[in-house]
Amino acid sequence: MTEPEHPYVEWIVREARRPVVVDRAGRDRVMAAVRAEAARRPQHLAGRIWSRLTQTQSFHLSPLVGGVLAAGLVGVGILAGTTTNWGVRKGGQPSADVASQPPVSHTTDTVVKFVYAGPNASSVSLVGDFNDWDTAKTPMERSANGEWTVTLPLKAGRHLYAFVVDGTTWASDPRAPIAPGDGFGHASSVRNVPGPVL
C-alpha cells in the first residue's frame, strides 16, 4: 500500500532523469579553472614541501652513484652494529643513581697476575667478568717453566674468572677461592682486588 505521489514529485523525478547537456566550451572553462586552482595550491613553503614529500617521485641513479651510496649504508650498518647493545646494557656498571661506590678511574686499577699451570696445554685464555667472558679477548702466554700467565689492570673489587684450556676445557684456579655452582657445570674462581692505598 503506497500513498499517491504528488505531481511535484513526478516533475522533479522527470527533470532529474533528463540528461544535462553542457556545451564543450563551458566544460573546457570549468576544467581550466580546476587545473589553475590545483596549480596555485599550496601557497606556503611548508605546504609545498609536504606536497613534494607525499607525491610520487621518480629519480635516476647511475650504478656508480648507487654503489657509493651502498658503501655508505654498509658503513652506517657496521657502525650501528658495533655500537648497539641490542637492548641489554653492557659495561657492567650500574647507572650513577644506584651505584653505591664511587667510580674508579683507570689510574687506580691494580695490576693483577693470573697464572695457570698447564704444561701440556697448547693454548690457554683467561675469561671473566672483566672481559665479558669472551674467550678470545685475553690469551695467556706460556713461560719457560710451562706456566701460562697474563697480567691485567683490574678495578678494585670482586672478580669472577676461569681459564679456558685448548679452547674447550674450563678450569678454575686452584690458588683462589671458588664461586658456588652457577648451574652451568663449571666452577669459577674469585679474585678480590684490594683498593688503592691512599
Binding site: 649504508l73 650501528a80 652494529g81 653492557k90 653505591s100 697476575k113 648451574g183 678480590n192 684490594p194
Partner: protein, 216 residues
C-alpha cells in the same frame, strides 16, 4: 668492458636500491655476530632485560646479573639454564640486601653467592654490621668457597661467624682459606680440614704479616 657498462645502464632503476639493501644486510651481519646475546632466543633476552631492569629499580648491582648471563653464554649453557641462573641471582641479591642492609656492591654480590651456596638467610643476617668502616668481602668469599667445597653448612657458618665476631680482618680469612685448601689438597676431608684449622686461627688480627697475596 664497454658492453658490461652498457648492460649496467640498461639495468632497471631498482638495481642500485637492491644492491644497497643487500650490502647493508651483509654489513650488519658480522656486527650482529659480535653481540653474545644474539645467541639467545628473543624471549630469553627479554627476560634477562626485565631482570636487569628489576635489579636496577631495586638499587641492586645489575652488572652481577649481566655477568651471570654472559658467563652462561660463554659456557654454552642452554637458554633455560641461563634464564634460571639470572633469576636466581636477582633473588639472592634481593635477599642479601634485605638481610644485610646497605653495603657495597662487591660485598652484596659475595653475600648473594653465600646464599646460592646454601647458607640460610638468617645466618647471613648475623653479619649485619652495627659499626661502619668494616668490609666483609673476603669473609663472604671464603664462606661461599667452603660451602661450595662441601663443608657442612653449620660448620662453615660457625667458623666464619667466630672469626667475624672476633674482629678478624681479610688477611685472617684468607689465611684460613689457604690452610684449609692446602689440607684438602693433601687428602683431608673439607669438614675435617676446617675443624683443624679454625682451632689454630688467631682471634685478633695480626699487626702486619698475613696479607692476601697480590695475584697468585
Amino acid at each position: 668492458m664497454t658492453r658490461f657498462f652498457a648492460s649496467l645502464r640498461r639495468a632497471p632503476r631498482g638495481f642500485a636500491s637492491l644492491a644497497a639493501g643487500a650490502l647493508l644486510l651483509l654489513g650488519a651481519l658480522p656486527a650482529a655476530g659480535q653481540d653474545p646475546f644474539s645467541r639467545l632466543d628473543p624471549t630469553s633476552r627479554n627476560i634477562i632485560d626485565v631482570v636487569m631492569d628489576s635489579a636496577l629499580v631495586a638499587g641492586l648491582p645489575n652488572r652481577s646479573i649481566l655477568s651471570r648471563a654472559l658467563e652462561g653464554i660463554a659456557k654454552k649453557a642452554d637458554n633455560r639454564r641461563i634464564v634460571d641462573a639470572v633469576r636466581r641471582r636477582l633473588v639472592s641479591l634481593r635477599t642479601a640486601r634485605a638481610m644485610l642492609g646497605p653495603i657495597g656492591d662487591d660485598e652484596l654480590e659475595a653475600a648473594a653467592s653465600v646464599l646460592e651456596a646454601g647458607a640460610r638467610p638468617e645466618q647471613l643476617e648475623r653479619f649485619r654490621r652495627r659499626t661502619t668502616g668494616r668490609n666483609d668481602l673476603e669473609a663472604f668469599t671464603v664462606w661461599a668457597d667452603f660451602l661450595a667445597r662441601g663443608i657442612p653448612k653449620d660448620e662453615a657458618f660457625s667458623a666464619i661467624n667466630k672469626l667475624w665476631q672476633d674482629g678478624a680482618d681479610d688477611a685472617i680469612f684468607h689465611s684460613l682459606w689457604n690452610n684449609v685448601q692446602s689440607d684438602i689438597l693433601q687428602g683431608l676431608s673439607p669438614g675435617m680440614a676446617l675443624q683443624n684449622r679454625i682451632r689454630e686461627a688467631p682471634t685478633r688480627p695480626p699487626t702486619s704479616a698475613g696479607k692476601p697475596p697480590e695475584g697468585s
